[in-house]
C-alpha cells in the first residue's frame, strides 16, 4: 500500500522530470496538481474537536475536470499511513471532508455555498483564478512550466486548520 503510494509519487516525479517537454500535456499537469492536492494533506493538522474522523482522510471534490479525474485515480491509496478516500460531492452536501477541491467549473455555485464551509475545518483547494478570491486556501497555478501554489493563511487559520510551515516555505505566495 505504501509501495503503491510510493510508486505514484515516483511516477509523478518521473513525469515532473520530463515536465518541460510535456508542459503542453494537460493530463500530466492535472496529475501533478492532483498529487500536490493529495500530498498537501500530509502537512495539515485538523483540529480534534472537528467533525471529521481522524483515521481516514477524505478528499472531496466538487465539479469535474482533468484534475478531478486524476484525483479519482488516487482513491484508496495510503497517504501517510491513512487510507485516502476520494469522493465526489454536491455543493449542497459537503460532509465529512478533510479537504475539498473545487473545480473551476463550479465557480458559480461556490459563490453561493462557499462561505458556509468556512470554519468547518475543511482544506479548500482550487486552481481557478476566481476561486482564489473566494476563500480557497490553497490556489494551484502553473508558472514557467511548474506547478506552484499560493496559500491564503488567514483563511487557513480561520478554519481552524494548521498548515505546516514546511509547506508555507514552498508556496509561491502566502497571503495572510
Amino acid at each position: 500500500m505504501m509501495a503503491i503510494f510510493r510508486r505514484i509519487v515516483v511516477a509523478l516525479a518521473i513525469l515532473l522530470m520530463a515536465l518541460p517537454a510535456l508542459s503542453q500535456r494537460e493530463g500530466a499537469e492535472a496529475d501533478v496538481k492532483a498529487a500536490v492536492i493529495a500530498n498537501m494533506m500530509l502537512f495539515v493538522e485538523w483540529p480534534l474537536g472537528g467533525t471529521q474522523v481522524l483515521d481516514r482522510r477524505n478528499l472531496c471534490y466538487l465539479g469535474a475536470g482533468p484534475v478531478t479525474s486524476a484525483l479519482a485515480q488516487l482513491d484508496g491509496q495510503l497517504l501517510g499511513g491513512r487510507r485516502l478516500r476520494v469522493v465526489r460531492v454536491d455543493a449542497a452536501a459537503v460532509f465529512d471532508c478533510h479537504a475539498l477541491y473545487v473545480a473551476g467549473s463550479e465557480a458559480a455555485s461556490w459563490r453561493r455555498n462557499g462561505p458556509s464551509l468556512k470554519g468547518r475545518g475543511v482544506l479548500l483547494m482550487a486552481d481557478s483564478a476566481e476561486l482564489s478570491q473566494q476563500g480557497a486556501m490553497i490556489h494551484l497555478d502553473v508558472e514557467n512550466g511548474r506547478v506552484v501554489f499560493d496559500v491564503d493563511l488567514r483563511a487557513v487559520q480561520l478554519s481552524g486548520l494548521v498548515l505546516s510551515s514546511k509547506v508555507l516555505r514552498l508556496a509561491r505566495q502566502v497571503r495572510d
Partner: protein
Amino acid sequence: MQQPLDSPPLSQRLNLLLTALALVISFVLLMLHQLVVGRHNVIEELNTEAAIIGVNSAAALVFNDAKAAQETIDSARLSPRITGGALYRHDGQRLAATGDGNFPSRLDGGAAGDSALAVPPVPPVPQATSYGVLDGVFRDEIRVAGAKAGTLVIHMSFVSLYWRLLEYAVGVTGIAAVALLLAYRFTRRLRQRTAKAEAELEQFAFKDQLTGLPNRRMFERELRQLVERVGRDGSSAALLLIDVDDFKNINDSLGHEMGDLVLKLIGDRLTASLRSVDVVARLGGDEFGVILHGIGASDAATKVARQMIDAVNKPLPTRPTASHVGLSIGMVLIPADGRDANTLLRFADMAMYAAKAQGKNGFRFFSDEIDQRVREDLLTEGGLREALSDGGRGLSMAYQPQICALTGQLLGVEALARWCNADGRQISPVVFIRVAERTGQITELGRWGLAQVCRDLAFFRERGVRLPRVALNVSPRQLLRGESVVRIFQETLAQFGESAAMFELELTENALMEDSGAAVLGAFKAAGFMLSIDDFGTGYSSLGYLKRFHVASLKIDQSFVRGLPQDDENAAIVSAVVKMAIALNIQVVAEGVETEAQAEFLRSCGCHILQGYLLGHPLSPIQFVDFMARRPVESAPLVVGA
C-alpha cells in the same frame, strides 16, 4: 678548597628521562582520547544536522521543489565539517546539490549525462554511511509520515577536527612547557640551596670535628690528587706522618677533656707553622698527616719538620698543670720515594715508627734501609711465630758462664735465646728479641725460654753438671700482662719440677721504674725468684728501688767495662757502683769482660763475678757440658745464696 659541582649523577638524569617519558605517554594517550571522542562527537553532530536537513527538506522532496531543496541543502554548508551535500528524490534523481559537488545525478547506477568519460569522473555514492580517516560520506533516507520521500547524501571531512586537535596539542605542549619552565625557574633557588647544603654536608664528611682540620678521608683524597698532579706536571712534594709522643699519658693524667684540648692545640700549632698551600689533617687518634706542596728536597722538608717539632714542644696550657708533648715524624719525598699513594703512606708510616724507635720527638726520612729493616722484621716475626707454634723448632738456649773472679768457680749461667730459622740462618737475638718485644711474642718466647731452660737443666743433670743458678732475661713487655706472668712461670716450673730459687730474673732498670712493673716484681719476689738489674747504669734508676725490690744482683753494663781500665770515668763509675752494691749487700756482676786487664781491674774493685768472652762464650747445652768437663775439678759449683 672549592670543589667544582658535579654534573647531575646518572640516577638524576634517569629520573628526568623517566618523568619526561611518562609525560609524553600521557600526552599521547590524552590526544588519542581526544581524537576518538572528537570523531565520535563529529559523527553525532553530523547525524543531528542530517536529521534537521532531512526534516526541513521533506516537503521540498515531496513537492519536488528544487529551489526549496537547494536552499535547505545549502544550509548544510554552515557546518564546517560538511563539505557538500545532495538531496535525491525518491526515484534516485538528484534534486539539489551543494558544496564540493561531484554528486552523481542518479543515486545508484549511471544515467544519461553521467558517462565514464565525464571529466572529472564522478565517484559513485556508497550504499551506506562510511567514515574514513580524513573524510566520510553520510547517506540516509528522508521519510515523510513513515514513507521514504528521498535520500540525503552528505560529504564530510574530519580535517577541521584534526586541525583543532593539533591546535590543542600545540597549546597543551606550549602551556606545559611554560609551566615547566616557570617551575624550573622557581625551584632553582631551592635547588641551589639543596646543592649548597649537600656541599656543606660533604665538607662535614671531610672535616675532623674536634680540631677543624681535614679528616683522613679528605687527606687521602688530597694525597691521591697530589700524586696525580705530580705525575702530570713534574712538581714535587713531601708527605709527613706525625704521631704525638706519649699522648696516652696526657689522657691518663689530665683527663680526656685536656687530651682533646691538646690535640686541638697541636692542630693549631701545626697549621700555624705551615703555609696556606700545605695540608694538615688529623688522621685519627693522635696521628696527624701533612702534605708540603712543592717541597721535594730533604733540606726544605727538614726545616719544616724542625719548625713543627719546635712549635709543638712549647708548653701546652693544660689544667691543672701545663704539659709537654713531642712529635715523631716520618717523612717521604714525592716523587723521589714513590708514585703511589698507598706506598707513600706505608713508607711514611715506617719512617715514623723508625723515628719513634730512635727516641721520639724527632723525624726520620724514609730510606731503603728502613724499608729493608721493616721487611726483615716482618720475616722475622713470621718465622718466630712459626717456630713458637711448632714447639720452639729452631729455637734453643745458650748458656754463658758467670765465673768467680777470685776462685774461678762457676757461680751461675745466663741463659740466652738463640734462633736458627728455617733457612738455616742464625738470627741475631738483637733482631728477634726486638721484633718479639714489638709484636708481643716476647711473652710466649719467655715462656718457652723458661721451659727450655728446665729441659736443659734436666739434660745437664743427666750429664752430671749441676748449675748453681740460671739467670733469665725478662722483658718489660712481659710484665704488662700483670701478675699472670708469675703464675705462668710457676706453672712451668711445677711442670718440670724445678724450684724458683734456682732462677734469677734479669730486668732492665726501666722495667723497675714502670708503675705497672712494680706489682709484678713483688709477685716474682714472693714466688721465690731472685731479681737482678741488667745493663745497670744505662737507664733510669731509683736507688731506693734497689732496696725496695730486694734486688739480688746488679749487672754492670758492658759499655762501662769496655773502657776499663784506661777510661777514668768508666773506672770511677764502675768502682762506685761496685762499692755501693757491696755496701747494700747486692751482688755485682760485670758483663762483657773480654780482657785480662779488665778482669784484673774488676777484681781489684771488688767485683767478684765476671761474665764475658774472656770467661766463656754462650754455649749450647752440649758445648757447655764439654766446657765443664774440661775445667779444673776444683771449680765445683757453688750455690750463691740470695
